[in-house]
């Protein structure tokens, strides 16, 4: 009630002032508004919106970078469907994204609940440590893990040898079977701190009186978790899931540095494949800018879907 009256009062005050001072003030505001947004907006038009439209156009052409692009309609997209590497990259992107998102959500929630339960000082320490992998660059973490996974002198194999599990020693990144799990470990390692933090903020936002009331009614810890914690975290979970999807769909740095998409395309994702098509690190042939642009468009569509999914999850939670 109080806020409503306050708001109404403020609204009348503002309109009154607008009438009192008339158009000159509003004109100066209008001019200032456009001048203030101009630098950001011009850069946005030139280096965000235009590239999006341009790559959408390029995806309908065949172009090696010289001369004029040749319009080919949707050929690049149908080629994508029949190209086995493209199909594989698509599947690997979706699988990696799904698995990392699920793992991040699970571990993020569990660690957040534990950090929330522990003594405050321990909590701060744990949060600090868990967050550090997320602030170093993907290049640093990828190089670091590449050394750890090294088949000959990598720490992982040496530790396995030291504890007598020699049979598990493995060329982790060179084997088609283990390369994807190895990448998932790196991604989850890097993302857990941030996910935990989002969940932690969500937990802090839950009204403690809910738990007190539930305890009075005789609900045990598990019941409280299921009926208070989980429903209260729905919006936050939507956020974590959609961020996980976005990061999965745009994955590039870690894979590019650790495997370059190999061995034999076993860790090829949309990002690395479009990069090698356009900037030709593997093929050594003419860049296929039109075909590569089709992958850009697919990536953009996937990212847009992730955002829509989040909006949808949030709205459903509001009801």
């Amino acid at each position: 009630m109080a806020t409503a009256t306050y708001k109404a009062g403020r609204a009348t005050a503002v309109t009154a002032q607008k009438h009192k001072f008339g158009s000159p003030l509003r004109k100066s505001q209008r001019v200032a508004g456009y001048v203030f947004i101009a630098p950001t907006f011009v850069l946005f038009l030139g280096f965000v919106l235009w590239p999006i439209l341009y790559t959408a156009y390029l995806s309908l052409t065949s172009w090696g970078g010289f001369g004029a692009p040749r319009f080919v309609n949707f050929d690049n997209y149908s080629r994508m469907l029949s190209d086995p590497i493209a199909r594989r990259a698509m599947i690997i992107t979706l699988v990696l994204t799904g698995v990392t998102t699920a793992l991040l959500t699970f571990f993020g929630l569990v660690t957040a609940v534990l950090v929330n339960a522990v003594w405050p000082k321990v909590g701060v320490l744990v949060r600090t440590i868990l967050f550090i992998p997320g602030i170093v660059s993907f290049v640093v973490s990828a190089v670091l893990w590449k050394l750890i996974y090294d088949p000959n002198i990598g720490t992982l194999n040496r530790v396995l040898g030291a504890v007598g599990m020699d049979s598990l020693q493995h060329p982790w990144l060179a084997d088609q079977k283990t390369v994807l799990p190895a990448i998932v470990v790196v991604t989850v390692w890097g993302g857990i701190g941030f996910t935990m933090l989002i969940f932690y903020a969500g937990l802090q936002g839950i009204d403690p009186s809910l738990y007190e009331a539930a305890a009075v009614d005789g609900a045990n810890t598990v019941q409280q978790f299921r009926h208070i914690t989980v429903p209260s975290l729905r919006v936050v979970t939507g956020l974590v899931v959609s961020l996980g999807l976005l990061n999965g769909f745009k994955a590039f740095d870690v894979i590019f540095v650790m495997t370059g998409g190999g061995p034999n395309h076993a860790s090829e994702v949309l990002g690395t494949y479009l990069y090698s098509l356009a900037f030709g690190s593997t093929s050594g042939s003419i860049p296929q800018l039109g075909y590569a642009s089709a992958f850009s468009v697919v990536t953009m569509i996937l990212c847009t879907l992730a955002v829509i999914a989040q909006l949808w999850l949030t709205r459903r939670a509001d009801r």
Partner: protein, 279 residues
């Protein structure tokens, strides 16, 4: 917090610590290992014990001198500083306008900026490369700076707008009555009140620009102008067996990030949360 744990909370707390602390050790292990490796003798990486018997800083000297590390380090410092300042200027101005000024099509323009906020650089790298090429800005730090600032300004604007919205309108109205121009009001009245927001944008932008790899690695081919991340990538091939020097390079590249994170952790975390939740 059922009745049992409420009466004896230390049981739950001990259990949580018991699970969390080993997990933290595991999470921190790669960094501990990185430091240990950078401090050992080159000839002990194949068969020496995990914790070296003798510590030496020789690898840091190697990494610093033989790879023109200082040059790339300063490239990173320079590129990051200019980007942070540029993004901050553009984002505070436009964030303020979208939060507090009335002008036609304000919401349309805002939504337009918002819808493309999540477009990843992976998807835009081809047109951006071609665009710089046709502008003659390929292989120049200017071109890279233009891409960095234009790519980050909309998100920073979004963050700043959220901060500006928390300020009361009456403040601005009062300043207008006192006869300040819109720019004076923005600079003298509003900006000093948004220090926390500015700190957030600075930290966030510092980290993401310092760590950016894909664009820098694509649009810069001239080795002398490269920032650190692409150099670390090539270092991996160059030093494929000299692990102490390689990990020393990695450690040096991480130092500024860790300093900023540790010193400004609170603003950083607050800002990240705001950015994430406001999405």
């Amino acid at each position: 917090m059922s009745e049992t744990t409420a009466r004896r909370p230390w049981i739950g707390k001990s259990f949580a610590s018991f699970v969390l602390l080993p997990f933290c050790v595991l999470m921190a292990f790669p960094f501990v290992w990185m430091l240990l490796t950078s401090l050992r003798d080159q000839n002990t990486i194949f068969n020496g014990p995990l914790i070296p018997r003798r510590f030496t800083g020789a690898a840091y000297g190697d990494a610093w001198t033989s790879t023109e590390f200082p040059l790339h380090f300063w490239n990173s410092v320079w590129i990051t500083s200019v980007t942070v300042i540029g993004v901050l200027v553009f984002a505070t101005l436009s964030g303020y306008a979208f939060a507090k000024l009335e002008f036609p099509f304000r919401n349309t323009l805002f939504v337009l900026l918002l819808t493309t906020l999540m477009m990843p650089s992976t998807a835009l790298i081809i047109p951006l490369y071609l665009e710089l090429k046709s502008l003659g800005l390929l292989d120049s730090q200017t071109g890279l700076l233009v891409l960095y600032i234009s790519g980050s300004a909309p998100f920073a604007m979004f963050l700043m707008r959220a901060f500006f919205q928390t300020l009361p309108d009456e403040l601005i109205e009062a300043a207008r009555v006192d006869g300040g121009s819109e720019f004076t009001i923005f600079r003298r009245v509003i900006l000093p009140l948004t220090r926390p927001g500015i700190a957030t944008v600075v930290i966030f932008q510092f980290l993401s620009t310092w760590n950016e790899f894909l664009i820098a690695n694509t649009v810069l081919r001239n080795t002398d102008s490269l920032p650190l991340q692409p150099v670390l990538f090539t270092l991996m091939g160059q030093y494929s067996t000299n692990w102490p020097a390689l990990t020393a390079g990695l450690t040096l590249s991480v130092v500024p990030v860790v300093i900023v994170y540790v010193r400004m952790q609170r603003q950083f975390v607050a800002g990240m949360m705001l950015g994430a939740v406001k999405n």
